[in-house]
């Protein structure tokens, strides 16, 4: 069977091979960057939110200079790989939720996403379905994610269409009184940072998966 590739995959291979031939980067550089990029997750952004919940001065820095604030959680936005491969460049902004305003992020043009601090987009974030419907029917789309908010809460969709990238800073949920930064970080999941979910005590981004033992295990 012939493996089919999309036009975009063919284009990516062509551009990459040309760039390697031209000496802009090597195949090894490309592999390293791919490995690096695929390992970034939402944890730095989750920690940023947790720190901001605990420290009003840090929260202020997140809201006024998110690029500087991201350094405190180990992300150098302007040189995120640390070995010379530039990021998407761009600017970073934090959208602060309040009890009466809830933010949710989309990019209707393509899939702009704050990758240096949040990792790669989930597949659904890139789909035309999410992109075209979130701007027009945000409450219905959020309901599909299991998030229904009362009419008193203003839903504010952020269409990330230029050179700013956004993360959402949700309201610290009740039931987390006295928690430390590590505990708070665990409940700020990727979807909370995009705005399609709210953090809840007990719902963490590092849930342990159950182990199912094989019925006919291989013997070594």
């Amino acid at each position: 069977m012939v493996e089919e590739i999309s036009d975009f995959e063919a284009l990516e291979i062509a551009v990459r091979e040309l760039a390697i031939e031209k000496g802009l980067f090597t195949a090894e550089d490309h592999r390293r960057f791919t490995e690096f990029a695929e390992h970034i997750g939402p944890t730095p952004a989750a920690r940023m939110v947790a720190k901001a919940w605990l420290d009003p001065a840090y929260k202020q820095q997140c809201l006024t200079d998110a690029i500087a604030a991201s350094k405190a959680v180990g992300v150098d936005w302007l040189n995120p790989t640390g070995f010379g491969t530039p990021s998407d460049y761009t600017d970073l902004r934090v959208l602060e939720d309040t009890p009466t305003v809830h933010h949710v992020v989309v990019c209707t043009l393509c899939s702009c996403y704050p990758r240096p601090i949040l990792g790669f987009q989930p597949e659904w974030y890139r789909t035309p379905n999410y992109r075209r419907r979130l701007v027009r029917w945000p409450r219905q789309v959020l309901a599909e994610f299991g998030l229904s908010l009362p009419a008193e809460v203003e839903i504010r969709v952020e269409d990330s269409n230029q050179k700013c990238r956004f993360i959402v800073m949700p309201v610290r949920p009740a039931g987390t009184e006295g928690w430390n930064e590590d505990q708070l970080t665990e409940i700020v999941t990727r979807d909370c940072l995009i705005g399609v979910a709210l953090p809840k005590p007990g719902v963490t981004s590092n849930i342990e998966m159950p182990m199912h033992h094989a019925k006919n295990p291989a013997h070594h």
Binding site: Y89, T90, D91, P138, E152, D159, Q162, K163
Partner: protein, 121 residues
Amino acid sequence: MSQHDRTHHAKIATGKGDPQCFKGTAGGPPKFKVGDRVRIKDLPDIFYTRCQVYTRGAIGEVAVVTHESPAPEDEAWGHVDHSEWFYIIRFKQKDLWPEYPDNFANDTLQTEFSERWLEAV
């Protein structure tokens, strides 16, 4: 044969960021300030734009004055000599989608424009 420097963008943006590398290049202060009401113009565009059709003709309010940068409609063609101020504009959803439910009249949407797309109302 003319030589196009394909690392031009990396040279100006590495370590600074883009749009940050265009700071101070708009040739003056921003025309609008936070709170100003503006209408999105319905300008012609050829092949590339980031001004979404759903916003054209709508009236919103400046939420953030963000940065200076060449407009994407120019930058797409490699024209980076002229910068503009950029603004995040906040719209009432009702003003974008007439059929938006009345009981959620508080809902809003924000998105960003370069100055050429905005006119005062």
